[in-house]
């Protein structure tokens, strides 16, 4: 038996995909089945070949995630060691040569509403006569709703402008057609690695054992469709046409240096939501619109943490599964240039922004939006999340069906 050729990968420690990151994703080469890989500098490294473990000869992270957090730690340690030494040459591909797939099969998908700045901005926009912009429940529980798992798509997927019903307050009846208020929501998504049984809540202090990693998440939103449909049962078709995730799942264990206290929660939360450790995340997002960065939402400003979201959504006994995805809701900070949705950034369309020399309120056909983020890593390094990219294309059939 001849030893396979090997190669040493030289990646500077301050690379956004350096040795302290090692996110998980699913890649494919032309004509080949998708497999699990990690991103290391400009390389994508095949994990089944690197580690000799067929769990990774899979088109989805779900089998690995289901093995549990002790195994996640083992694999991360093995990966860190393996990438520091000789790597089988046939396990290594240039990142530019592979295509990236949806990294996991989404089980249930829930979207939260965890930014106080975002919730308060929408309250001021939609209920201008109400002196209190937040709803009475907002500071007592992380408000959230279920969305469509089948519409979660990977970065790079075109976003077809959705058609649907809309009705302006002065219209006598709704009209049907392509959305005219197409928006984004810059969010983070949290991926459940190991589920929990029916009737067994996940206590907030056990969240770390269930949460596998973090993705960028763009919750594309048709504001006109949503405004007409959402009373009293919440958003549906205004959201369900597409949600974009980044292809690399950054493991929670790569985000130790990003953990910060959440903002003070006052009034005090009920005991099942009380945190026993810092669960805020000092992750800096950026929103690029047609090549121009228009917003830099700070995740550290989020009121509700992912551990609280998971504890809340299971406190009634609802089960979770490998592949469950819950997203934070729009990340917005206190400043205008930190708002993570265009409805906030343009104040409902009343204050257009100049994007690459053109006035914009909502998205036009051909517009492209890219979300990016970084977090602090060890020794002054940064952890990159890659990107969640989507381009808006015209409604099909002019929106007629």
């Amino acid at each position: 038996m001849t030893a396979s050729p090997t190669v040493r990968l030289a990646v500077p420690p301050d690379d956004l995909f350096g040795i302290h990151n090692l996110p998980y994703g699913v890649y494919s080469l032309p004509g080949r089945e998708p497999r699990v890989g990690t991103r290391y500098g400009e390389h994508v490294v095949d994990l089944a070949l690197l580690l000799g473990d067929d769990t990774f000869a899979s088109g989805s992270l779900n089998p690995f995630m289901a093995q549990g957090h002790a195994r996640w730690a083992e694999v991360r340690a093995a990966l860190t060691t393996a990438l520091s030494g000789d790597v089988p040459r046939d396990a290594v591909h240039a990142a530019a040569d592979v295509s990236l797939r949806l990294p996991f099969e989404v089980a249930d998908y829930v979207d939260f509403y965890a930014s106080e700045y975002h919730a308060a901005n929408l309250g001021r926009l939609f209920r201008p006569d109400n002196p209190e912009p937040l709803m009475p429940n907002w500071k007592h529980l992380p408000v959230g709703y279920h969305g469509r798992a089948a519409s979660v798509v990977v970065s790079g997927t075109d976003i077809v402008r959705p058609a649907g019903q809309r009705k302006s307050p002065n219209d006598p009846a709704p009209v049907f057609g392509p959305s005219v208020r197409l928006d984004i929501e810059a969010e983070l998504g949290f991926v459940v690695g190991t589920g929990s049984a029916l009737g067994e809540p996940v206590a907030v202090e056990r969240a770390e054992e269930h949460l596998f990693g973090v993705v960028l998440f763009n919750d594309w939103s048709a504001r006109d469709i949503q405004a007409w449909e959402y009373v009293p049962l919440g958003p549906n078709l205004g959201k369900s046409f597409a949600s974009t995730v980044s292809p690399w799942v950054v493991p929670l264990s790569a985000l130790r240096e990003a953990k910060v206290p959440t903002p003070v929660q006052e009034p005090a939360v009920l005991p099942y939501l009380a945190l026993d450790r810092p669960w805020g995340l000092d992750i800096d997002l950026e929103v690029e619109w047609n090549g121009q960065v228009v917003s830099r939402p700070p995740y550290s400003a989020m009121y509700w943490s992912p551990a609280q979201m998971l504890a809340h959504l299971t406190v009634n006994g609802a089960p979770t599964r490998t592949g469950d995805l819950f997203a934070s809701g729009t990340v917005s900070g206190p400043a205008k240039e930190q708002r993570g949705a265009f409805i906030e950034l343009t104040w409902g369309g009343a204050e257009p922004v100049t994007v690459a020399g053109q006035e914009r309120t909502f998205l036009e056909d051909g517009d492209e939006v890219v979300l990016r983020a970084t977090a602090p890593g060890p020794g002054g390094t940064r952890i990159g999340f890659g990107e969640a990219r989507g381009r808006v294309v015209a409604a099909r059939h002019g929106g007629e069906v």
Copy 2:
């Protein structure tokens, strides 16, 4: 080779599980893997053995459903013929000897709100000062929201009373504990057999090709949890703890005689919702509470039809998948004794009902609810749906976590 022993099954044509029904389900025998079967009279017949098709040697209907509506018709014809002749003895089990499983893997689950009587009753209860009980959007689109697919359980599964936050209008802050207003919603669920691609709406006239069958559906609801959480993003934990489906999926092709016109829809619906054939369903439900039938909701009174629900939920380009489940929302008729939720039947708890000699408003621990339904079949026969049964058990740990 010796021919296997065979048997003739004598089932009267007017049996609720007679030759005109032949629903699909998943059964198991002690210590054996679950498999697909049909219910015929008091027998459960194994389809892989009966038809010699390994598609049915599966613990789920999904592989069969994914084969499409032409194949569904072939199999139904083959089944009808096979059950009228000699049947391999080892394919036949007594219904009492098998346990029934969740018949399909639920992909996305959506709950609608399609009964005008139910929506109007809730409007009168929750917005008594509003002269118009229906929301302005209600007659223009089938209002619905996504629910939790993982919490769909099969008939017979105990329903653990959910704990959560609730707040009465006069309470200064929310309290945490077991729900004190636990309710049911008697519904039908519609099972998508073949999905539709991202960006490709299912036209209302193509719904028949995608819809595989119908189940009973009990959307257990914690009204106190729901009331506190649901503004502005809709129900979440008030519903996500459990939803019960019946184990037998009645194929849509068994319900030809049940098709009736829907009630007149006025104002006229938008073209994408206009029906080209009768899509109402003359299905009579009954709600049994601790052994006593307390309500008989008529599905024929439903305003929105399943074809319209499917057309609506895909009109924005949202994809569907094999195993998608959408439910009708509570089935209520015009009369008090036709109301499919206890919040309506007891008018928010103000008008208790006497159930087996005891006063009841909402569900108490130990209460059992069974939904049943029948529909007209050929020649004066009736098609049975079996039952969706659930017993309420006390919150675990007294609701503490």
